[in-house]
Symmetry: D2
Subunit: 448 residues, 4 copies
């Protein structure tokens, strides 16, 4: 059967029964939905760190993961072997993209020179596998948070040597992005934030972070790397406050430091919730501000205050996010849907890696099917158009077209009675809207 | 059409299309599911306070509600008229139960004597309507929180006159319960908690609360009222800490103050979330501890920290709660499903009251259908039985049957290797469990 | 004794003993601290809505407040009488500023024309009192959230007539600001947000909000009003998501809609916490981004999810905020410290209004004394300077001055060992920093 | 200087200046406060796991800790060497108690037999050091969560072999407790909770947990171990729901499973906050219910949703907790104040271990001084006595002494007017109470 003791995952459909198993119920890669193949709407990617490196540790326990490559003991042997496991995994799962941090794929040496040499060997092997399988790199990134040297941040470290090292590490990682044809390049803030404000020069640290981004953009231009740069917001954890708190904070940062032309956002569901937002909110905000870049599709538990990075299964979120994607025409200019997700610690078997991805893929495929049916009916479009219709003519039009002044508005309003004004408002029947979305979920998926 | 400008709500089913309207999609009162009629599993009740009294105010705004009885200006006229509106509402909606606080139905006078006289007049009219319509009283309760006299609590007020008044008010309310044949009698803590611990004798206040409960139980026995007493937990709001924080705190209280034989719990979904729990958790805890009494079915937004009392539409919650109800054989000894819910402030039209209840009823009916299908397949039962099977024989059996000692366990374990012990654990494939529940939702409702 | 049965509040100092009473322990208006009089650093303001209008209602209870003007029943009589009570309050408390919403001071009529006529009468009286007492207007604002017409927002209402009315209301309010010499003009978002994204055109609503701000700025210029415009962020409540979520979201908004030259921020402590931030964070962010305008000094309970608007007493917050104010040279260009705070519902006596303001004033005065002592010692300044010193020369300097490139950083870093890099980091002894702040609190206040 | 490059920590007092350093500002071990020596009120303990084993890892990074025993590579050598470091640490810090988990002090072998042999060697050395230094064991406990075998819990594992192993491990640990004269024996729930309710038999798992506790109690009696058994509540983390959620849930559990005579609670500050409670609340609840056993003194950040285990420095918490301790006469029957706390990841130097403990000890010593001064003045006692005085006579007395009935209360209340009832309530001037506590902090510590 190959390296993984499992067969290629096939589309089975609803006829497989309710118990989710080793086949897709909704994800049918080449099925055309809303004018595009499912796989082209969704562009699923596997995350190297969670899927191949994650031992399922938590702050109170050692790793529980059982993996077929646990037999390797030499770090470079393991790193090279994992590449084969990874590409067979992509192929068997039917996923066309992957993502990685530099330190996911190869061990560190004592110096960056040695580390880069290790990296090169693994990248050689990845490149070969990409050619032979057709699997593509959605994005890569750099790990600037695990090593103790990053204890107080990387670009925002108060220690200049650490900034310097971070820049050097980014340089190498951009070269790999160029070489492997990455469609995007991601910066997740890691430890770019603060533990305590009393000893922190916040704006200076943010300026340093912006400096690194500008240097990276300059270098990308220099080497001809044309992937999309992305920031991934997260509000807190590991630091008490992460500078890329949420989409709005990231937008303020990009504007403040003149980076708006270069960056878009990579949005994660669990991070949205930790910031007090729904995933729908973050995706909507980015879409409407033209900075929707890509998605780290996962979920958390809204009653829990840390990042769980669960595989997505909540259909409400999947429908809402895919509705935004349909409205946007795509996830982003080069975006995809990366499972920044790990199986729960209790799902420690090797085949849980397949099972968990299937659940995530089926859930987003379901989200696409439901959102497409809603789009087809213009349900949300009509709801909104009707609700804002008073802006299409008369006083409303004068407000939007710029001809109104406070004086014209006063003249219009001065003698309207309380009753007239209340009559200008309408109930939005919000309960029915929620039930209608429930109904679309059932109707669209019953047909699948 | 009667008092409400709306026709009786009928079962339409999925053929009505995805847009939820003025008909039931899933709730088919007499349809037999899992051996009982839907209406007998669900025993829906309308909450007087939210449905007829609630003006949809919030801390930042005046009420937006538009109601057909807004034309009444005299408080007693209004109170009496509302009874007719209420019973027509129940009948048109097809709900067989209702619930109220004493102060929901009649205005206060300057003294309790005057207030009780007002109450009697309205209760007379309610009694007549109950007879003529067959609608029954799921529970009544007393409002010990709105009037400024309850500023520092009722039974837990530091001011003895307020305790005394509260007891007198409870007495009258129990007499009404007896007269109207209430199936339950509820105590929601209102302001029974503290704002600040520095000026609070917490245990003394809890002892006072228990005292009132004992007095109420004694008086119920005296007058022959046999309804089930219920406590409704809530963790905070309006006070910073409510003594009936959650189901576990309520159980500790009942045991501490020798009230466990007399009380069960009325559990609310939004309150569960405010306490950091899922609704499923609170219902499970109560069921397994034999104190599941009744349900205040509503929902909130887990990202929001105050009580929203939204009509329930989240199918995940409805399925989980109805699964517990099926496992319990009923909601509780006399329990029902009371919509302690208000339309959103923006759903201010009179017909939103119907629309919102339909959504709530359909969502719980859907929950019942899904849970019943899961029960039919023994899906959860088998999952659990398999997971705990090691306790059915051998060392596991000796643990449960009481024959094991630490010494026997040591002897059994002393030479087991790390590998043997890990082999004794199994992956729980949790991601698949979540997807399977998604699948049951679609499969069960597609058939509806 | 005048309208309020209380004497003028005097500075007593620590000799008054630990029990806080009707005298100031730390606030000594004319005492010079860090080069300015206390009153000029703090510029305290009383909030009309909470202090004179607030009945101490909450979502579960009627108002408990007892006020000396409760005897007035006619709304205009009451409104006019309150002006006298208000100015005697300011004078007896020794506060030189006040703030109000238009609807705080005068009742609405059936039309805006009638409402404005009511307003004018009260403003006449306020103007007289300002002249006779010397009390000044820190800021005024408009109430666009209480009336049911604002059910779905004001500038962001989907109903154009409501936008129009809002504009007309702002026009009048700006005229009052001009007439009374307001130093600032505030926009708190009220209902400018959404309840649910499915029926919301978020960006269009934000554009409408920006439109109103531009119209207001244009009109201010037209009438020669030169006060500072301020936005007050809040993340949620009453809506599920308020557009001015936090300082960062407000900055993104101002930049997106070309309003950065016109607006600064009015920051509230409780709102900061509801957004997941410390008050220190919000003030720091605004200061460093040049948008610190004014302060709504209050506090909440970080374990509680709704806006409590408590009077500030937490010395940690007061010290942190006043440290930022000292670093900024002032609260803001025209800023002050407005008590957007109400006594707790249980502090319902009239004299609690004085008592609560004294606590707030003493706490911020204490914060000023402590922060000034820390500044005097350069404690924080030295801590930060030392921590970031590696950016003052060598590679650090090259990063800040723009001469570094990724290539130069790589060259610098390529052969550094793990140990060398770790040696480039330093412990920040954070526990000691926290204890040192404790110590400054005690030492500075022991001297007071 | 010995193993740690630091001198014995001495009491310096406030004369040392505001910058906290390597001396105590408030903790003066033999100083008599409220009738007992400071050290006897506080009984500080050092936690082996955080202080000697913790590498300052977090979910996103490797450990940063620098420790003088990092040179040891053989696990048993390291374990034995650490004992010397530990006892010198206790002695230099002037702490008389310590706490540990079995797995903190010695490495695991492949079988429990081998593990126990390792343990015995280290316990031998600990015993010697206890004798030579006089340092005592506040409590020990067992680690039933780190090893992958505990993936689904220990006593609540669905796998009976894991329960068996857990029992065997507890047996050994109790023997060590007996041998070393532990004053208490603690059970922190570790993974005793659930990840998801669908696959969980919650009550059966809780019954298994209770079974282990009964077996432990039986065995303690058998071997003559007389230390106090303690449960340590925590609401979530690592599991989604921990069975010992908070003090109230623990009390319900103890009563349900007939364990109330055997167990008291060990309460942690950060855990209190994660459950939505103040630390004051949890300690008060335990004290008033007679189950206050011991304290894990630490703190978190109320805006952060995971367990930070910071060293305590918040004076408000320290004062509140020590007030309860004074009211209780002691922390608990054998209780102490264990620093279940780690320096922040950025405080990675070896001497930060001393610095952080000094801060914690000084903060609790300060709490004791302030609480003692408040007690001396009867400030809180009088406040409460006055507030509840209406229960000392008349109708209030009849309520407390059991002579009241609902009928007697009705008779008393029936003709009281609204105004009379409101007059029976009193403002609690809560703002002043908070300021007075501020004042006590300054006054008591200014004298120190
Ligand atoms: Co991510
Ligand atoms: Co994440
Ligand atoms: Co309820
Ligand atoms: Co509720
Ligand atoms: Co404010
Ligand atoms: Co506020
Ligand atoms: Co602990
Ligand atoms: Co902890």
């Amino acid at each position: 059967m190959g390296l993984w003791d499992i067969d290629k995952i096939e589309y089975v459909g609803r006829k497989g029964g309710a118990k989710e198993g080793l086949g897709f119920r909704y994800y049918d890669a080449d099925k055309v939905v809303a004018g595009k193949k499912m796989k082209d709407w969704l562009r699923f990617a596997v995350a190297y760190w969670h899927t191949f490196d994650q031992r399922l540790v938590d702050p109170f326990g050692d790793g529980t993961a059982e993996r077929p490559y646990d037999k390797y003991t030499n770090p470079m042997d393991l790193a090279l072997a994992k590449v084969d496991y990874a590409f067979e995994f992509y192929t068997k799962l039917g996923v066309e993209y992957f993502c990685f941090h530099d330190r996911d794929i190869a061990p560190e040496g004592d110096t960056l020179r040695e580390t880069n040499a290790n990296l090169d060997k693994v990248v050689d092997k990845i490149e070969e596998n990409m050619k032979s399988t057709g699997v593509k790199l959605l994005w890569n990134t750099q790990n600037l948070f695990t090593n103790p040297r990053f204890v107080s941040g990387a670009a925002t470290s108060p220690f200049a040597d650490i900034f310097a090292y971070s820049g050097a590490q980014v340089k190498k990682s951009l070269e790999i992005a160029k070489r492997l044809g990455a469609e995007n390049y991601v910066f997740w803030g890691g430890r770019e934030g603060y533990e305590n404000l009393w000893n922190t020069e916040m704006h200076r640290e943010q300026a340093h972070m912006a400096k690194l981004f500008h240097l990276a953009a300059d270098y990308a231009k220099e080497i001809g790397f044309e992937g999309q740069f992305l920031i991934e917001p997260k509000p807190k954890e590991p630091t008490s406050h992460q500078y890329d708190f949420d989409a709005a904070a990231a937008l303020a940062f990009l504007k403040t430091f003149d980076l708006e032309d270069v960056f878009k956002l990579n949005l994660e569901g669990n991070h949205a919730n930790l910031a007090g937002h729904s995933y729908q909110h973050e995706v909507r905000f980015a879409r409407e501000n033209g900075i929707l870049g890509s998605l780290d599709a996962n979920q958390g538990d809204k009653l829990i205050g840390w990042d769980m990075d669960e595989f997505p299964s909540d259909l409400y979120d999947c429908v809402a996010v895919m509705w935004e994607v349909l409205a946007n025409g795509s996830i982003g200019p080069h975006g995809g849907l990366n499972f920044d997700a790990k199986p729960r610690r209790t799902s420690f078997a090797a085949d849980d890696l397949f099972r968990a991805h299937i659940v995530g893929m089926d859930s987003y495929a379901a989200g696409l099917l439901v959102a497409a049916k809603m789009h087809e009916d213009h349900y949300i479009e009509d709801l909104q158009a009707d609700r804002y219709s008073s802006y299409e003519s008369g006083i409303g039009k004068s407000i939007e077209d710029g001809s109104a002044t406070l004086a014209s508005l006063e003249e219009y309003s001065l003698d309207k009675t309380q009753a007239e004004l209340r009559a200008a408002t309408k109930s939005d029947h919000l309960e029915q809207v929620k039930a209608t979305i429930n109904n679309y979920i059932v109707d669209a998926l019953a047909e699948a």
